[in-house]
């Protein structure tokens, strides 16, 4: 176990710490003191700078402004090894990044010793087993040390990773989404461990989107937004206030025209995403733009993916234009006029080396085929027209897509799907990595083109949702739990629903069983 003799005074101090990548400030002016034996929660939306801050503290990134001092000594952490020697250890959220498949549990526990640059050349399985047993016993863990790591469940693998980190006797333990893969009892076990560490004087920086975890554990909560620390809360945490601070209040009124309420395009009935989610109904009409909002991990993307044929719902029926809708593949969805632009552009939409032109026309190449051959002249013409219509700024349509700015890439992807005659267009986080001006522009294009189809925009940011949507749907636990019509809607209402603490008088709170939305 870590040493208990640490004095209860600040041992890590950040003063005006900053970090930029390629000229973009990702962290700025971070002032922070970390004391032994406290659990510090770090909150922030996607891209707020949480993981950058973690990486600076773990030695993966070198800060380039301000000061980081440990035990009163100002320094730069040059590598994760150095950070570990100073007692700063990070446990990352992805289990698959923390364990080595093919090795046993014992070998995984000892991985840091095995990989140490000055480690022993020869490996004695018996000594390793003894050493691993010591580590496990010290943490009161019962693990099958000789079994292969794959034979353990996600939760136990998580514990192995944690045990490995603790074997380094950390003074600051950074936990990044440690409960993401855990069930409630498993998480409880983890919390017990964290509380024992706290008592032993280990400082813990805890990052999670599960607000209830934070409420349960944290002594203090820090909120990051756009690379700055905006507020700190002391326990007990006020969840609504924390979410509000996390998302920021940069709402400017955008005048939205009321939509012409068209016919129902997509209908869900008694629909359940997975076995643990509540059943709900949903209608999407032609001409309207509906935003699907919710915190990270609420199941927004999964709902979109089900409509697009990438996964199946647990129960319930879907109808597209009144006919039963059960797509089995994206191809079938696209043929039926259901389009989806995925959240991660690099993974879902971009093909390395493909030009703007080829990226835009990819799903609709059939239109340019004449007797089996592509008519490149017509393709260029159509792409050129779309570039003009959407105001895409690029040196030319032969430019590789990945060289354009985020906003322009997003416009190309939007332009791609506007080439087809869609019944339902699903845009998953279309404003991610897009600056404010481009965001407004894209929002306008989406609304302008919305006639004749239903549009579902998935966005975690309530301000973005308010900017674009005629109607907001709040997702929690894989189900739409509230419908909020746009007129008169305040961001405070959304935030209350996001955090799961709607005002008692709310008209939109879910009833038991199926919720008619």
């Amino acid at each position: 176990m870590p040493s208990c003799s640490a004095p209860a005074t600040t041992f890590i101090r950040l003063r005006g710490l900053g970090k930029s990548f390629a000229g973009t400030r990702v962290l700025e002016g971070i002032d922070l003191e970390i004391r032994p034996g406290e659990v510090l929660a770090l909150l922030g939306a996607n891209g707020a700078g949480k993981s950058t801050l973690v990486k600076v503290l773990a030695g993966s990134h070198r800060h380039d402004a301000g000061e980081l001092s440990i035990d009163g000594r100002s320094l730069h952490l040059e590598s994760p090894q150095q950070a570990r020697r100073m007692g700063l250890v990070a446990v990352h959220q992805q289990v698959e990044q923390g364990v080595v498949r093919g090795l046993s549990v014992a070998e995984n526990l000892l991985l840091d010793e095995l990989c140490a640059p000055r480690g022993a050349t020869f490996f004695s399985p018996r000594a390793a087993l003894r050493r691993a047993a010591e580590i496990a016993a010290g943490l009161d863990l019962r693990l099958p040390l000789q079994a292969s790591i794959e034979s353990l469940g996600a939760a136990e693998q998580q514990l192995v990773i944690l045990a490995r980190a603790l074997a380094l006797k950390p003074r600051l333990l950074i936990l990044d989404e440690p409960t993401a893969a855990l069930s409630t009892p498993e998480a409880e076990r983890l919390f017990g461990l964290i509380e024992r560490l706290r008592e032993a004087g280990v400082a813990i920086l805890y990052i999670s989107h599960r607000l209830s975890d934070l409420q349960r554990l944290a002594d203090r909560a820090l909120v990051l937004r756009d690379g700055r620390l905006v507020t700190a809360f002391e326990a007990p945490l006020d969840l609504s206030a924390a979410v509000d601070a996390m998302l920021g209040s940069r709402l400017e009124e955008v005048a939205l025209q009321a939509p012409e309420s068209g016919e129902v395009v997509l209908a869900l009935r008694a629909w359940r995403l997975h076995s643990r989610s509540v059943a709900f109904d949903l209608d999407l009409r032609a001409g309207e733009v509906v935003a699907l909002t919710g915190l990270l991990g609420a199941g927004k993307s999964a709902i979109g993916e089900t409509l697009f044929g990438l996964r199946r719902q647990h129960a319930g029926d879907m109808f597209l234009d009144g006919r039963p809708w059960a797509p089995r593949s994206p191809k079938q969805a696209i043929d039926a006029g259901v389009f989806l632009a995925g959240e991660d552009r690099a993974r879902c939409s971009r093909v390395p080396g493909f030009s703007l032109r080829a990226s835009m026309t990819l799903p609709f190449l059939q239109r340019f085929s004449r007797w089996g051959l592509l008519d490149l002249a017509v393709e260029r013409e159509v792409v050129q027209a779309q570039v003009q219509a959407l105001g895409i700024k690029a040196p030319g349509i032969e430019q590789p897509l990945e060289l354009l700015s985020g906003g322009n890439q997003q416009k190309v992807i939007l332009g791609r799907w506007l080439l087809g005659t869609g019944r339902l267009l699903i845009l998953d986080e279309p404003f991610q990595g897009v600056d404010v001006r481009a965001r407004r522009d894209i929002g306008r294009r989406i609304r302008e083109s919305a006639a004749g189809r239903a549009t579902l925009v998935i966005c975690s940011d309530p301000d973005e949702a308010l900017e674009i949507a005629d109607r907001l749907l709040v997702v929690r636990g894989g189900a739409v739990v509230a419908e909020l019509p746009r007129p008169g809607l305040l961001r405070a209402d959304i935030i209350a629903h996001l955090a799961g603490t709607p005002p008692p008088a709310s008209l939109h709170s879910p009833r038991q069983g199926a919720v008619r939305v």
Partner: protein, 340 residues
């Protein structure tokens, strides 16, 4: 879909030179080789010799075009050499032992090639065996398979069969002409077949919808699937087309040799792979492409032909091929990476 020169007119001279090199280095090297060889040995430039070079490369080029297709979908077909050998042996067997005639030989060879392609595709798409491992496995399988009917012996006209009889059939005259005839007294038929196939593969990859989808799948399979491409079907198609081209190569080999020689398929796969990889560097494509593959094959053949004329030792051939390949890969991946 060739990418235009990335460097603008305002770029620094060094950057422009680099860009120029990335695009044209291999074509310049080819021109330089022709020039040097012609200077040292005037017979090199005779039309007959130039066609000889093309003819010598035609079979490898067909296989390389097949590899190009499998590389375009992000895979790799190592079984092509074995498929070519299978095609050679089965065509010889059908004509010499079974005496079914040339048309049947062609039909059987292409059908067997298609089967191997389907098998490869099935392993890769359905069973999700990694492409290199799947085709390595089928390479061994097919190399073994082609030896079974003839009991491991080469197949020649008039050979004595296992039951003591003399083989009844012979290679059809028109079939042999496929590998040996010269049109207009000059142009070998095999060269025309190679050029025709190269043109077809080029058209397919650059100018058809499935070709564009091949590249999309090779670049980002998930993005292609989300754009509605039937990824599995196109991958299967790539391996079938690859095996068909290899079978065609085996048929040309049978026609040239006039016998089913058990050892002739060996070595084809590495040469074909090399040609396709050298092709990455032609015109700065950085991706498998038909024109580059053809240039890669011709470049290697030119080099070997010229060196042979200059009495370079035969055992230096593999070393020379390796040097060209490594240089081309350096251009493709090393230098091009420095471009903004």
């Amino acid at each position: 879909m060739s990418r235009p020169a990335a460097a603008s007119a305002t770029a620094k001279p060094a950057a422009r030179l680099l860009d120029f090199l990335i695009h044209y280095a291999l074509l310049l090297l080819l021109a330089l080789l022709v020039f040097v060889f012609a200077l040292l040995e005037p017979a090199f430039l005779r039309l007959g010799n130039l066609f000889l070079i093309l003819q010598s490369v035609s079979i490898v080029a067909l296989l390389a075009l097949g590899v190009t297709l499998s590389m375009a979908v992000g895979g790799l077909d190592l079984s092509i050499g074995a498929v070519a050998a299978l095609s050679l042996m089965s065509a010889s067997y059908v004509m010499v032992v079974l005496d079914w005639g040339g048309l049947a030989a062609i039909a059987v060879s292409l059908a067997l090639g298609t089967l191997v392609g389907l098998f490869n595709g099935w392993l890769i798409v359905r069973l999700r065996v990694p492409d290199i491992l799947a085709t390595l496995g089928s390479m061994f399988l097919v190399l073994g398979l082609q030896l079974i009917p003839s009991g491991g012996r080469s197949i020649a006209v008039g050979m004595i069969l296992a039951n003591g009889d003399e083989a009844p059939g012979a290679f059809a005259g028109w079939f042999l002409a496929l590998g040996r005839a010269q049109l207009w007294g000059r142009v070998p038929l095999a060269v025309l077949v190679m050029l025709g196939c190269a043109l077809l593969v080029w058209l397919f990859l650059e100018r058809t919808r499935p070709g564009r989808l091949f590249y999309a799948i090779g670049g980002n399979e998930q993005a292609a699937r989300l754009a509605g491409a039937a990824v599995e079907r196109y991958k299967l198609l790539a391996y079938v087309l690859s095996a068909l081209l290899a079978s065609l190569g085996g048929l040309l080999l049978a026609a040239r040799l006039g016998r089913g020689d058990v050892s002739s398929g060996n070595g084809l796969v590495l040469d074909a792979l090399g040609a396709a990889l050298i092709g990455f560097a032609v015109l700065g494509a950085r991706k498998p492409n038909a024109f580059g593959t053809l240039v890669g094959a011709v470049l290697v053949a030119t080099l070997l032909n010229g060196l042979t004329m200059l009495n370079a030792p035969y055992y230096a051939q593999d070393f020379v091929k390796g040097a060209v390949l490594v240089a081309a890969l350096m251009f493709t991946f090393g230098l091009a990476q420095r471009m903004p």
